[in-house]
Amino acid sequence: MAALVAGRLTGSVSRLLGHGGSSVPGAVARRVDPALLRKLGGGLESGSLLITGTNGKTTSSLLVEQILTAAGLRVLRNRSGANLIVGLTATLMQAARLDLSIKADWAVLETDEASIPRAVEEVRPRLLAVTNFFRDQLDRYGELTSAVKLVARGAAALSPAAMLVLNADDPHAASLGREARGPVVYFGLGSPDLALDAGAETLDARFCPICGEELSYSLRFYAHLGHYICPGCGFARPRPTVEAVDVVREGPSVRRVRLLVDGAPTEVTLSLPGTYNIYNAVLAAAVAHGLGVGTEAVVEGLRTSRGAFGRMETVSFRGRELRLALVKNPTGFNQVLRAVAEDPRPKMVMIAINDRYADGRDVSWLWDVDLESMASVMGAVQWVAAGTRAADMAVRLKYAGIHPTLIRTVGTHAEDALQALMEESTPPLCYVLPTYTAMMELRGALERQGLVSSFVEG
C-alpha cells in the first residue's frame, strides 16, 4: 500500500510540474515495493493480456480494448509510451484500490519486446499476442533475432494454461508456437488480392528461423509476411484459426473484411487504412476468439475502430485535416506510404525525422524505405522534410526521384514544422509522418498554439 501511495503521489506531483511522464510513478512505486506489479497483476478480475512485436502493438491493443468493451467487459489499457515494466506498473497502479484489487476485468498491455521476459514473470498474463518482427532501431535493439529470442523467453515462461496468439504469416512469430505448452491461436491473411505484385523492399527475414534456408513464398503481403514454406526443413506457415479471406473497399477509408473464424464466416467493417491494419484487426479478432468473446462484439468493436495515438489519427485545425502516422522502421514506413497512397486526394506529405534515443540515433533505415516505388503514386503536391534530421530526409526524397523544387526543408524544431503546416499555400490535407519524439514534440507545439486541446489518448 505504501508503494501505491508513493507512486500516486509522484504521479500527482509529476502532473503538477507539467511532465506527462506516465511511467515516473511506476518507477517510484517499484522502488518502494519491487513486487508491486506481481501483486497488481493478481488484482484483476480476469487477468492480463500482453501484446508485443515490432509494429502494430498500439493499434491492435486499442482494437482488443474496443472489442472487449463491446462485449460488456471492463478493460484497462496502457498508453503507447508506457510499454516498459515501469509503464505497465504505473498503468495498473493508477486503477488500483488501496487493497491492490483493480476494478477491471482485463488489462490489455502493449509491451516492448525487451520487457517481455520480465512482464511475463511479474504480470503472469493469461494471453500473449505477437504481431510481427521487423528490424527496428538497430542501435538500440540490436539485430532482429535478439528481439525474437527475448519474446521466446517470455513465451517459454508462460503458465501452462496461458494462450499464445501468433501471426501465422510471420515466420519468426509463428515459430514461437512450436515450443508452446499451452493453446495457440494463429491468425493471418488469406486474400490473394492483398498480395504484393512486386516489392523493392529490403526483406528483414527471408531465411528460415529454424534452419536458415531461404524461405519460399506462394503469397507475400508485405516484407516477409505471407504464405511460406522452408525447402530445407519443411517449416511452414501454420494454418490460421482466424483469417481474413476477402477485403472489399466500401469508401475512401472504409473496407469490409470477410473473416473466417474457425471456419465460420464473419463480415466486419474497418475504417483504418492499409494492409497492416487488417493484420491488427485480425489479431484482435483472434484474441477475442481465444477468450471466447462472441462475434457480435468483434463486429461492433472493429466497426468503431479509429486511429490510436499518432497512428493514422486525424486532427482538425483551422479548416485543415491533419493525419498523423508514426513511422519508426522501414516496414512500418512502407505500410504507411501505401496507406497514404490509398487516399486519392492531393496532399502535403511532411516527414519529420528525429534521431533522439527513442527514435533510434541511426537514420540509415530511411534508405531501406521503398520511397522509389511510392513517391510518384502518393498524390503528394508538396513534400516537407522536418525534424533533427530534416537535411538527411531531404536528401532521401531527392534520391527517391522527387524533384528538389518540390521538397522543402524546414528547421529542426517542431515549431518550424508547425509553421509550415499553417501557411496559406499549404493544401487542406496534410499527412504528417513523424518518428516518435518528433510526434510528441509536434503534438506539444500544436497544444501550445492552442490549435488542439490537450491530447488524451484512450
Partner: protein, 249 residues
C-alpha cells in the same frame, strides 16, 4: 561496348543489407543517371556467377552476424578472382561486415575466428561491447570536402598492419578500434569502412570518387560533369558541425 552504360554488382544483397546499404547503391545509380549514364545493378547472391569482367563497380554491405557467417564460405571461395579484379583497379566499396571480410580474418562474438580474403592487411577482433554512434573522419583520399560523415555500429575492433593505408583519421566516434584514431582502409580502388548512414548520399564526393573510377576503369577517362549537391552538402555539413564542436551533440 556502350560507354554510357555502367554495370554495378551488389554482392549478397539478401544477406548483407543491414544498415541502409540500399542507399549506397541508390546514390551511385542516381549520380550516374543524372549524368546521362544507364545503370544496371546486378544482384549477386551466394553461388551466383559474378561476371567480374563486365562489372564496373562492386558494392558489398553489412549484415547480421548470423548472415555474415552464412556468406563467408562463398566469399572466400571467390578470393582469387576478386583479388585479381581489385589488382586491375575495380572500384569497390565494402561497408562494415564486408570490410571485415576483406581482412585476413575476423573474430565473431563467441570467440571463433573466420577467414577473410586478405586483400587488406588487417584483422578484426571481437570487442567487449559494440561501437555505436555518429562518426566524422578526415579522409586521406583526394576529396572535397575532406570530411566523411556516417554512423557506425560494430562489435569487432579492426587493427591495421603497419603500412596498410586507412581511409582516414577519426575526428568524432570510434572508427576501426577506438584506440588509434584510424578508420577504414584503402588499397588500389577498394575502400573499406565502418561508416554507414547511408554513407554515399551524404558524402557525394566519395560517391563521385568511386563513380569517376568506375567510368575510368571502363573507358579510360573518368572525368565527371559536376552536379548540384545543395541538399547533400547541407546534410553533410550539418553532421560535421554537430559532432565536431559548435553544434549541439
Amino acid at each position: 561496348m556502350d560507354g554510357r552504360r555502367l554495370v554495378f554488382a551488389h554482392l549478397y544483397p539478401g544477406h548483407m543489407n543491414l544498415y541502409g546499404d540500399r542507399g549506397n547503391v541508390l546514390a551511385l545509380r542516381r549520380r550516374a543517371e543524372w549524368r546521362g549514364y544507364d545503370v544496371d545493378v546486378l544482384d549477386v547472391n551466394p553461388t551466383d556467377p559474378l561476371p567480374l569482367a563486365s562489372i564496373d563497380l562492386l558494392f558489398v554491405g553489412g549484415g547480421e552476424d548470423r548472415h555474415q557467417e552464412l556468406v563467408v564460405e562463398d566469399f572466400v571461395s571467390r578470393r582469387q578472382e576478386l583479388v585479381a579484379a581489385f589488382q586491375d583497379g575495380l572500384p569497390t566499396l565494402a561497408v562494415c561486415g564486408a570490410y571485415q571480410l576483406l581482412g585476413h580474418r575476423y573474430q565473431v562474438a563467441d570467440g571463433r575466428w573466420l577467414p577473410g580474403i586478405a586483400w587488406f592487411d588487417l584483422e578484426t577482433r571481437s570487442g567487449t561491447d559494440r561501437a555505436v554512434g555518429n562518426v566524422v573522419i578526415e579522409s586521406r583520399l583526394d576529396l572535397s570536402p575532406k570530411t566523411l560523415v556516417g554512423f557506425e555500429n560494430h562489435g569487432g575492433r579492426t587493427f591495421l598492419a603497419p603500412g596498410q593505408e586507412p581511409l582516414g583519421r577519426v575526428i568524432a566516434g570510434h572508427g576501426n578500434n577506438g584506440q588509434d584514431h584510424m578508420e577504414g582502409a584503402v588499397r588500389e580502388q577498394v575502400v573499406g569502412t565502418y561508416l554507414h548512414g547511408s554513407l554515399l548520399p551524404k558524402n557525394p564526393q566519395l560517391a563521385d570518387w568511386l563513380l569517376s573510377r568506375a567510368i575510368g576503369f571502363k573507358t579510360g577517362n573518368g572525368e565527371l560533369s559536376p552536379l548540384e549537391a545543395e541538399f547533400e552538402l547541407r546534410a553533410h555539413a550539418a553532421m560535421v558541425e554537430r559532432f565536431t564542436g559548435g553544434g549541439r551533440s
